[in-house]
């Protein structure tokens, strides 16, 4: 199982805070998880997750789409951060 969280504008656009996804060997990297989310979610998910400035974290660290994903991981999708 992998946990996937969404924050800020991404959370609002997808109307989803968090979801869980059964892990499988085909979900080998972040890009594959994104494709799976789009396949499940449809057009809106496709549009939102295709945003140029979308960031993704794996286990609390920002990573690239090519980052490997393992069973038990926590992923998160969000827009550029604006702290401080």
């Amino acid at each position: 199982m992998i946990t996937i969280k969404f924050f800020s504008m991404i959370r609002e656009a997808l109307e989803t805070d968090v979801l869980e996804m059964e892990w499988a060997p085909t979900l080998g990297d972040v890009a594959a998880v994104k494709e799976q989310l789009i396949a499940q979610g449809g057009a809106i998910w496709d549009e939102v997750l295709a945003q140029d400035d979308l960031l993704v974290a794996r286990n609390h660290r920002v990573v690239l789409s090519s980052e490997p994903v393992s069973d038990g991981d926590e992923l998160a999708f969000f827009p550029p951060m604006t702290g401080g």
């Binding site: 924050f7 998160a76 702290g83 401080g84």
Partner: protein, 154 residues
């Protein structure tokens, strides 16, 4: 003192400063205090909401503090960052560093703020007469972040 704290409650910036001074006498101390401003692009702001990523927010601030401490040989540091709904005038963020010399203290405190702005998982939304609006990342924040020669911190 070498700690980061992420909290919804307001905090006492004066008490934070006193604690850092008391813990580290005899050196150069630089602090930054950020509070909610009542204007932004000509619209009166009544409140600010800070969404955060629990777990990652704490981890990223702690890692940032440790990295800066190592780079500038800090004797102490402290970062406090709020989340949730904040009213105009309330403190959002506080950073304080202690070093042997002023050059290191200024650079360390500025690096903390510049990196925190773009690399710590917080997202600002302003409430004004125009309704609620997510704040975009400012181009100057990206420029300022580039000055510090470190990889992404998260």
């Amino acid at each position: 003192m070498m700690t980061a704290c992420v909290q919804p409650e307001t905090f006492d910036a004066v008490a934070e400063y006193r604690a850092l001074c008391d813990a580290h006498p005899g050196a150069a101390i630089v602090t930054f205090t950020g509070t909610v401003r009542d204007f932004s692009a000509n619209t009166a702001v009544s409140a600010l909401e800070l969404e955060h990523y629990p777990g990652m927010a704490e981890a990223s601030l702690a890692e940032l503090g440790e990295r800066v401490a190592q780079q500038f040989a800090l004797l102490g540091w402290r970062i406090v960052h709020r989340y949730g709904r904040l009213m105009v005038g309330e403190p959002i963020v506080w950073a304080g560093v202690v070093a042997d010399h002023r050059a290191e203290a200024f650079a360390a405190c500025e690096m903390i703020m510049d990196v925190l702005k773009t690399d710590a998982p917080f997202w600002k939304r302003e409430y004004s007469s125009n309704g609620a609006e997510w704040i975009g990342r400012a181009e100057q924040d990206i420029e300022r972040r580039r000055r510090w020669d470190v990889g992404e911190i998260d």
